[in-house]
């Protein structure tokens, strides 16, 4: 594990069990609130020596934090904030931190339903995946999905988000209703975005990128909650498509630019940081507002990106299988972010509070009746999309009232890595991961051989365990399990 020096006056974080799947780190020293970690007994043992527990504790030091510094069961060591962390800060006296969002602003997941059954693609998955691999640009520095944008066009996209793509014929109005925040955060400020971010954003709309991002053809293997599945339009045996990607180089640059800004701002506002990676500024300060304005631009870029990829995917599947748009029946179930900071209203400690909720590797999970849940799903709660590794499964869950009470309407975001990339490469040496997956019924195409090895299924924690913990905690019960049939990796 990583050797991260712990300040000598500090004891290792001690976890006290609160309930079956919730553990607490008491507020000691400069912590303003306790930490809460979602885990089962097996994973809590592994956490004992994990430096990410210190990161949970560090986040609890920041001004204006409300309730708890939270960590989901897929937590691992991140930049300042842990990956899988949730921190809600009062707009009134709290902070916003780029390290609480991450480099890939609005990395997220989009799930598409089709009218196809698994039998309709049997024997054709290879052809389908090859076609998608050539039609949807992926891999290191992928670009050129659509004509290169001009600066003013990119500025409009930053404000309009997914609607930018829909207005150009790449999707329908209903797609926006089925996207978190309608596919565009308010308050996007293109003037807060650097020339460098503009330069990196001009040519990457509609591209998947690399690393753990993917485009996957799946089948609904099992439905656990019939009522919610019906509301979402999911049934056993149905073919679905999942897209996992974010704001590409544009978002990375926005984060990089503002880490420098916030480093200076923390000192200016006299904010004491237990770790300088937690650099931040008051939400209600010029620096805080500018970061949120630029971050909204990147979040909206990501929604435009996933909307474009959905369009390219639909055309590609039609060509590969010789289908009309009507017979394919591609439609958006939901699109949800898992790296973002948002201004939301939550009940906490008997008050209604305006909070800046940071979700870094955590998925929004709003419960039934919430006005931000699409009307078609409002009775059952927001769809929560949890991608697993490429050989196992992904889950659709649903948001709950319990999530609103326990986690500011948040849950886990994926399996989380079990092996480092170097360990995975060692484990994969001499093996043909694509052939192993093919034998297990999953066709995979990747730009880089190394990516395939680093992303092999055993590099990840068991997605069933991670999802099960949040299900049992009552935060995000399972609705359906999706099994991969074909995967495009960058």
């Amino acid at each position: 594990m990583i050797d991260v020096a712990r300040p000598p006056d500090r004891e290792p974080a001690r976890l006290t069990r609160i309930s079956q799947n919730v553990w607490e780190i008491a507020a000691t020293g400069g912590m303003r609130v306790p930490g809460r970690v979602y885990a089962d007994e097996a994973s809590v043992d592994r956490l004992d020596s994990d430096p990410s527990l210190d990161q949970v504790r560090n986040v609890a030091h920041l001004p204006g934090i409300e309730g708890y510094s939270l960590a989901m069961p897929d937590m691992h060591f991140g930049y300042g904030f842990p990956i899988g962390g949730v921190g809600a800060f009062r707009v009134e006296d709290g902070v916003v931190s780029p390290g609480g969002v991450g480099y890939d602003i609005n990395c997220g997941v989009r799930l598409l339903a089709t009218d196809l059954d698994a039998a309709d693609v049997t024997g054709k998955t290879g052809r389908l995946v090859d076609r998608l691999f050539s039609d949807v640009p992926s891999g290191v520095g992928s670009h050129g999905a659509i004509e290169r944008l001009t600066g003013p066009a990119l500025a409009r996209l930053m404000v309009r988000g997914a609607a930018w793509a829909v207005e150009r014929g790449f999707g329908e109005q209903v797609d926006l209703e089925h996207t978190e925040a309608g596919g565009a955060l308010p308050g996007a400020d293109p003037d807060a975005v650097s020339e460098r971010a503009y330069a990196r954003g001009l040519d990457q709309v509609g591209t998947l990128g690399s690393g753990n991002h993917f485009l996957e053809i799946q089948v609904v293997e099992e439905v656990f909650d019939q009522e919610a599945a019906t509301a979402y339009g999911l049934r056993e045996g149905q073919v679905t498509v999942m897209i996992h990607c974010g704001s590409r180089g544009f978002g990375y640059q926005v984060c990089d630019d503002y880490l420098a800004v916030m480093g200076a701002a923390s000192a200016r506002y006299g904010i004491e940081l237990p770790d300088r990676q937690l650099a931040c500024a008051p939400v209600d300060s010029p620096e805080g507002r500018r970061y949120l304005g630029a971050m909204a631009c990147a979040a909206n870029y990501a929604w435009a990106n996933r909307q474009m990829i959905m369009h390219l995917t639909g055309e590609s599947i039609q060509r590969a299988l010789g289908l009309s748009p009507r017979s394919l029946g591609l439609r958006l179930i939901y699109d949800v972010a898992h790296n973002i900071a948002k201004i939301e209203t939550h009940a906490s400690g008997g008050r209604r509070l305006e909070l800046c909720v940071h979700r870094k590797g955590a998925t929004r999970a709003f419960g039934p009746g919430h006005p931000e849940v699409p009307s078609a799903y409002r009775a059952v709660g927001q769809p929560v999309l949890i991608p697993g590794d490429m050989g196992t499964a992904s889950y659709v869950c649903r948001g709950t009232e319990e999530a609103m009470r326990q986690t500011f309407g948040s849950t886990c975001h994926g399996a989380g890595r079990a092996l480092s990339r170097t360990q995975a490469l060692k484990r994969a040496k001499g093996r043909a991961i694509d052939r192993e997956l093919a034998a297990a019924g999953v066709v995979v195409r990747a730009q880089g051989r190394k990516t395939l090895m680093e992303e092999m299924p055993e590099a990840y924690k068991d997605i069933h365990d991670v999802v099960g913990i949040m299900d049992r905690a009552g935060v995000s019960p399972r609705v359906a399990r999706l099994r991969p049939l074909g995967v495009v990796k960058g």
Binding site: Y79, V140, G211, Q277, S420, G448
Partner: protein
């Protein structure tokens, strides 16, 4: 001050230039160099080598990058971020580098460390070049430059991938 030509990154000497340390999700590199310019050259090697297989990259274009910082670590990070920006926007893959220190000091933390890198390489062409990891950013996380007892330098750099 050296005025030699950019030195081609040599995969044979990779293990002397840098190694990857264990990290749960990102690319954590430990870079070595006999002096600070050599350290920066090897860090550039590590960055490009992480993104692209360099064997078939040719020296068709020359670029010069400059970066400064309060410490060698900060100047190194900024220089790598410049190189990453050039890769992201123009596809430039460096395969040879020659680094000079422009400020008069030889100390790693003189308060104003300035590096200049002359690099040769070419535009990424995925029909000829095999790509590796997509580097999102050169982070400040675990960023460090230290002088070892031998007088040589060692850097810790974390690339977000």
């Amino acid at each position: 001050m050296s005025t030699s030509e950019p030195r081609r990154f040599d995969s044979e000497s990779r293990t002397q230039a840098y190694r990857e340390l264990d990290h749960p999700a990102d690319l954590w590199l430990e870079v070595r160099g006999v002096d600070l310019p050599a350290l920066v050259e090897n860090a550039l090697f590590a960055l490009y080598d992480s993104m692209v297989s360099l064997e078939r990259v040719e020296e068709r274009r020359e670029v010069t990058l400059r970066a400064s910082g309060a410490s060698a670590a900060e100047a190194l990070r900024t220089l790598l971020a410049e190189a990453l920006f050039l890769f992201a926007t123009e596809g430039f893959v460096g395969v040879a580098a020659q680094v000079q220190r422009l400020d008069p000091s030889t100390e790693p933390d003189s308060g104003d460390v300035r590096f200049q890198a002359r690099m040769r390489g070419e535009r990424l062409d995925t029909t000829r070049h095999e790509t590796r990891a997509e580097v999102k950013a050169v982070t400040y996380h675990l960023l460090d430059v230290t002088r070892e007892a031998s007088g040589a330098f060692k850097a810790s750099v974390l690339l977000d991938v």
